[in-house]
Symmetry: C2
Subunit: 140 residues, 2 copies
């Protein structure tokens, strides 16, 4: 899952299509997101962006992640405790297991669970718009 993201998404094209300007800060931030398979939070993106261009502000990181999220280009995860973390919206859907000791995020996917979720919602008369499945655990 991580490590085999389909192909690096063309965020610039997405931005262009969205009719927003392609600025230097956006290019930097977007490149960072497109080039990683982990789940950095805003501050971490800010650090990485600062290494490329020290002028970029944390505000712009927040504004850009929000913009990309709105475009469906990235996903936001509010894992318990910490700040929001982001990842590209490429690849197939998956859920996460968070290592309570290290904070590591491990991705997994269960077609069976996805299916059961749909059956449950169906039985309750609902359509699922999105969901959240997070396992919090420690190494055995």
């Amino acid at each position: 899952m991580a490590g085999k993201k389909n192909q690096k998404p063309d965020y610039e094209k997405m931005l262009r299509k969205a009719g927003v300007r392609i600025t230097r800060p956006r290019r930097v931030i977007v490149d960072i997101l497109a080039g990683t398979d982990d789940h950095p939070d805003a501050l971490e993106i800010f650090r990485r962006a600062s290494a490329v261009d020290p002028g970029i502000s944390l505000s712009t990181v927040y504004r850009t992640t929000k913009l990309l999220e709105g475009l469906g280009a990235i996903h936001r995860h509010a894992f318990e405790g910490g700040p929001s973390r982001f990842e590209q919206a490429q690849g197939e859907h998956h859920d996460h297991l968070i290592d309570l000791d290290t904070g590591d995020v491990i991705e997994f996917k269960s077609e069976r669970i996805e299916q059961l979720q749909n059956e449950i919602a169906e039985a309750l008369g609902y359509d699922i718009i999105h969901h959240r499945l997070e396992l919090y655990g420690r190494k055995r």
Copy 2:
């Protein structure tokens, strides 16, 4: 599920066992939690508590919910968007479907999903400490 909570928990006994003092604010807050099957947030608990004793402060609501959570007497849910919401830790484990239009919280339980979660964690070499499964949807 909601509406058929096993039996009203004796929070006073829990508090006593925890070695903390049974104060008027605590009694009021604890009674509110013990007497409802919904998922109120701190502000809502504060409103309900204020109706009983106008002197109770929001700080005390926060402190008491945190205390009860620490004792395992109540559960905290950080549904997306809003503030934390609480419910008694009685009854069997269940997960939630949140109505995106009304904010209503619907409880459900799937032994199959719980089982699959364990198998996934097992396969990854982890023990699940707790998890979060939330379906966000709208009426069909």
